[in-house]
Symmetry: C2
Subunit: 229 residues, 2 copies
């Protein structure tokens, strides 16, 4: 608005850090690049923003096209705009992070037949562009956010045991938690519905299943409540 016409136009992309949880590990969904630059290397799913779609629409479209993942928690992370982050030309990317239920999500190199696969966050391959930095920022955000907003539930199946929930927090926060204190705190929030269902086919006492009650959560946030683990 301060410079004279013509307005400069810049290539704008979205990239998504998709987190999933499988038994022991927090995982990130990556796709294999077919084209140069970085052909054959792993990268975050993403692509250029079309002129007639919002940023979040672009992120959802790319995820669905590249990996078949459609229903997920999606939140804007940060916008990366270093001049030299893409060797071809100036590309600014708006990064999103997403949480999906089950790390073994039905991923497939969709429309363009690229390979997609889950990698444990602790053992990522080398990544194209500045994507390793983007993943670091996403991890820090997830770790911070999981403490004061109940987004962790997005990583679990709708019915889960308290032990599974605790493992999730221990995995994301990278610290052990006391079982009794964890249960006390979680149940004290009254955000979980206790179900009359139990684990099946386990070689030990079956654990009770719970379900996150989003309605109660909304009522609490509206009256100025702060979720804390």
């Amino acid at each position: 608005m301060s410079i004279p016409s013509p307005i400069p136009h810049i290539a704008l992309s979205v990239d998504c850090v998709v987190f999933g949880l499988d038994d022991a590990d927090l995982k990130v969904l990556l796709v294999e690049r077919r084209l140069e630059p970085y052909g054959g290397e792993w990268a975050l799913p993403g692509g250029f923003v079309h002129i007639d779609e919002s940023l979040e629409q672009a992120a959802r479209r790319e995820l669905s096209e590249e990996t078949g993942v459609t229903k997920l928690y999606l939140e804007q992370l940060y916008t990366f705009g270093a001049c030299d982050r893409d060797p071809r030309e100036r590309v600014v990317t708006v990064a999103y992070y997403a949480l999906v239920r089950r790390g073994n999500y039905d991923v497939h190199g969709a429309s363009d037949a690229r390979r997609a696969a889950w990698f444990p966050v602790a053992k990522l391959p080398s990544l194209a562009f500045d994507h390793a930095a983007i993943v670091r920022v996403a991890l820090a955000r997830l770790k911070a956010k999981v403490r004061y907003q109940p987004i962790g539930f997005e990583l679990l199946p709708t019915k889960f045991t308290l032990t599974a929930l605790q493992r999730l927090y221990e995995t994301v926060l990278e610290m052990p938690l006391d079982k009794r204190n964890f249960r006390k705190r979680i149940l004290a929030m009254k955000l979980l519905d206790e179900l009359d269902e139990w684990e099946q086919n386990v070689a030990h006492r079956a654990a009770r299943l719970y379900r996150f009650n989003e309605r109660k959560y909304r009522r609490l946030t509206e009256s100025g409540f702060n979720f804390e683990v």
Copy 2:
């Protein structure tokens, strides 16, 4: 990366929510637009990103050109990309927020002679584009961040009284704080240097001045400390 060439190119701007504090009020710096659309209305300082500058460089350049403000705390806020947020054409904007010392900063409609002025956040005029929404997001972020990172000091002169600091927190958080408890907590963090200087020319007992010790703060954050008000 998933669509065939040609890559779409989009106009990309930065907009800054500059906060300043003057005695009683939290204020935001606005500029008056000369050109259509929204000619004559107030807007956030900002402008288009040049092809050879990073996003933060663009934000600092625009601020300096439009308002003369140069030294400040600047942090990326959020990227707004609704398709219709600018009536001329698709414009995605990366919003930043900034904190400056003294609401009576030497602002001037710099390079292009636009008027710049401070407005109390509680009484903003109607704003161009989606800038009112951007200010709302910035306020929420400031309110949240001030609780766990000592960015509040960026709004005060380098030497300040504890009462001034408390007023700052009360203003930003929009809640009264207990004087004795506030002092106890703040001093317990050991982030302030007690100076042998006092207020001048006040019609009551002069208050001691303090200075924020950034070095101590860095040492604490490195060893995993969390500032909490």
